[in-house]
């Protein structure tokens, strides 16, 4: 059987790329196996756990439910693009560390990406909005208290310019 790869042009973490992707690959598989970006985790693969959350045109999405072919023209951010430079953590990541919001770490990339998307849309989120925005991200370690605290801390400590790059 012949499959036809699909040409896609997109921006990943601020860098323009052109690739050919198999028509049946999800964005999750493309990131991990096609590009070697394994920071985005593969959990349930049915859109329930949020471990694969990435930002697609400024919105949090489950990479397991998006076809890689659908990212043509899109602007994608993954956890690999969040840190300020090679070593320096982004204030959102720093807040997660300081609030003990990271235990086993498997949900953390998704949690951080959901937080980036939330703060892009709302710089002073209420507790209810924080909970709603993270409701699609499961954590089996922390009980969420520390994570919500981390998001609040990130919201209060972050400067607008530290979110600016995610808009492009």
């Amino acid at each position: 059987m012949i499959t036809t790869d699909v040409a896609v042009k997109f921006t990943l973490n601020g860098i323009s790329m052109e690739r050919n992707v198999p028509p049946g690959w999800t964005l999750l598989r493309f990131l991990r196996e096609g590009l070697g970006f394994t920071g985005t985790k593969c959990g349930c693969e049915i859109g329930e756990c949020g471990a694969c959350t990435v930002m697609f045109n400024g919105e949090a999405v489950n990479a397991c439910l998006v076809l890689a072919a659908q990212i043509d023209g899109a602007n994608i951010w993954t956890i690999e693009g969040v840190a300020l430079s090679g070593r320096e953590l982004h204030p959102i990541q720093q807040a997660f560390v300081e609030c003990d919001a990271v235990h086993c770490g498997f949900c953390s990339p998704g949690m951080v990406m959901s937080t980036v998307a939330l703060l892009l849309h709302n710089r002073i989120p209420s507790n209810i909005l924080i909970k709603e925005s993270l409701a699609g991200n499961l954590c089996r370690c922390t009980g969420y208290i520390q994570i919500i605290e981390a998001v609040r801390k990130a919201a209060s400590s972050i400067a607008d310019m530290e979110l600016e790059k995610f808009r492009h």
Partner: protein
């Protein structure tokens, strides 16, 4: 493993309809249901609706036309939907998780035709009709006739769901939308109820609408209860009486099960709550 052989993303509607007329391709929009089905090996060829500009909302006076690829996130936050189709806005805001609402579309929710589809009970309140397009033309079907049963619709070969037309509620109509599940988030509905109540100037119920999801093979209006309420003076007793009739219909439909002794009082109190809340939001105020 997903074994898709072909992915197409036409730029123009007529091109898309021409391809779909060949009968080999399945439309995909947000993919939140379809990508799961792809894992089971079907369909093998997909056509992305994403470039066809079907993400529109048009205010056409008495009715609102919603393009089929409007996402749940967009519907939940759109001012016109919030004002004129509030139960739909609420339903959209309760679908899955934010990640799913950001991709999932109202058209996908309809065409997937799950008995627990969250937007359907709300759309039914507004007499929704679906506009279907194919290479051979356009037809309009009422939503209640379009959804035939669990995961079955009247979508013909080569057809796409183009848009949904909803009738705006009359001014001062009260509404409610209740979703019951086992948890608060990423929640598969166990029961959804949607209701509107319009009060006449004389303090009597002018018209009532009630629909339910997850408890029937397809989400449905409950005309028998709507007729029971019209023209009556509202009271808790009346709503409870109506709720008992609706609950009996639901139990009859699902069959008497071991869980029925628990379910019946729950159904009655949720139905009573839906009707009471709807009236509470209408202009007339409180329930005596």
């Amino acid at each position: 493993m997903i074994s898709v052989l072909e992915y197409l993303r036409p730029e123009k509607l007529d091109e898309a309809l021409r391809i779909l007329a060949g009968g080999e391709h399945t439309p995909v929009a947000g993919g939140t249901d379809l990508v799961l089905q792809l894992r089971d090996g079907r369909p093998r060829k997909v056509l992305d609706l994403g470039r066809l500009k079907l993400d529109f909302i048009r205010d056409n006076g008495d009715v609102i036309e919603i393009g089929s690829t409007m996402t749940h996130t967009a519907l939940a936050s759109d001012p016109l939907i919030i004002k004129s189709l509030p139960a739909l806005s609420k339903a959209s805001s309760l679908v899955g998780s934010l990640q799913i609402r950001n991709r999932g579309t109202v058209g996908g929710n309809i065409v997937n035709a799950s008995p627990c589809a969250d937007t359907l009970p709300a759309l039914l309140l507004y007499d929704a009709e679906v506009v279907l397009k194919s290479a051979s033309g356009t037809r309009t079907v009422s939503l209640s006739q379009f959804v035939l049963g669990p995961y079955r619709t009247a979508l013909g070969p080569g057809e796409i769901l183009y848009s949904i037309i909803c009738r705006k509620a009359e001014a001062h109509t009260g509404w409610s939308y209740i979703k019951l599940g086992r948890r608060q988030a990423v929640n598969i509905s166990r029961m959804t109820l949607a209701a509107t109540i319009f009060m006449n100037g004389d303090g009597k119920i002018g018209s009532a609408r009630l629909s339910a999801g997850s408890v029937f093979p397809a989400p449905s209006r409950i005309p028998r209860v709507e007729r029971m309420l019209a023209g009556q003076t509202p009271s808790r007793e009346l709503y409870r009486e109506a709720a008992c009739v609706a609950a009996d219909m639901m139990i009859k439909e699902s069959g008497h099960r071991w869980s029925t002794p628990y379910k019946k009082p729950v159904l009655i109190s949720l139905l009573t709550r839906a009707l009471t809340e709807a009236q509470g939001k209408s202009i007339s105020g409180t329930v005596s």
